[in-house]
Symmetry: C2
Subunit: 224 residues, 2 copies
Amino acid sequence: MISPISQQPLAARVAEELLARIRQGEWPLGHKLPGETTLAAQLGVGRSSLREAIRELAGKGVLTSRQGAGVFVTALDVEQGLEDVVRAAEVTAVIEARIAVETEAAHLAASRRTSADIRLLRKTLAAREAARGVIEDYVDTDTEFHRAVLAAAHNEVLSELFDTFVPRIRQAMIAMLRAQPRPAATDADGHGGLIEAIVNRDAELARTLSRAHLTELLTNFTAR
Amino acid sequence: MISPISQQPLAARVAEELLARIRQGEWPLGHKLPGETTLAAQLGVGRSSLREAIRELAGKGVLTSRQGAGVFVTALDVEQGLEDVVRAAEVTAVIEARIAVETEAAHLAASRRTSADIRLLRKTLAAREAARGVIEDYVDTDTEFHRAVLAAAHNEVLSELFDTFVPRIRQAMIAMLRAQPRPAATDADGHGGLIEAIVNRDAELARTLSRAHLTELLTNFTAR
DNA sequence: GTCACGCAACCCCTCAGACAAGTAGACAGG
DNA sequence: CCTGTCTACTTGTCTGAGGGGTTGCGTGAC
């Protein structure tokens, strides 16, 4: 039975209840659920609410309904997905993951970068310098520079990881800079040095510089 | 207007139509959709069908509805997920990403490991040695050992990344070992050394050993 | 005995209407 | 300027009805 106290929509609670029962094994994979009228009565809700709950789970790929046949279990669990984990994780944990990805990318970029990659790196770094006034623009252009490093590494998996991390970190960075606007004078040098290391194909130096920069970023979050 | 030909449930077609309009930019991120009655009339469908379509997109995280306020766009697109990228990527690209994640994890594990982590590391390494006969078991127990390293790092984002990479690499590793069964006598030493480095809280050594082992793995794939 | 056909029960799909519950902006009063 | 109330609008939920598809059983022919 569904709890009558209405904190979140009934359909959403019914969806959770169904998912819990599916996980529990009440309806195995490929099995058919009871009919709408039966199940709605059993749960003590209207058919509409049950149907909406089924639709919600269908959107997640757990259930599939076939007219005339019934509703069937097509997946035992919702793929939680990396994005949900990232969203729920601490900012520091995400930054640590970003350090892992980006230092390795800098390493690879040093040996794989093309002249086009170099052009993009210099261009995005210049944009970053130009946007030093507005915090949001500064964060976004900085992100573009780092994305250019990832692009120079020519590894789509690493690039995809970076793009997954960015949204979670962006808000936190903006908030941090707003609360404590650091001069970050050495920042530009660090970035410029990273470009030079990549240009000179010095993989070890690129990795070291990248790590140094990001570790400093992490320190700003752990310090508070 | 929704096409009247009924090949697929109306609610599903409405969901597609809404998603197409969202992608097209008709309702920007964070914007409110028209009221249900208005939108249903505009699309030429009943309010129930529209609501089920909204629920389907809500299940995918694209829309969020708040009673009394309206329905809002919370994502511009359905996340295709890292899994698809990993599945389509070259094995070498995935291994490179794994190197990034795992070397950093070894680094973190050296400073964060608990005694329980150490126990799990030794236990999984022993299981790995015991399973040296059967290729599949060997690969799986090896995976468990590396997963234990990730667990010792105490970073859920990195752990999630590892679990995402494993399925793609597993098949490739089994195929490789079947084709070219290497003695891998030095392998065990490398893993044992990694455990010792983690036990001794030697972060730099742990990273170095982890990198050496995985780079050798990568070489086996790039060599052919 | 076996197979094909038809039918009936069951199921999901869609619509319409009504009322409840919540939100947010307008507005008057302090 | 702030605050509380009120109202129009929005989503949430239920009910009843009819349409159309699927499945499986029973029947009859071979």
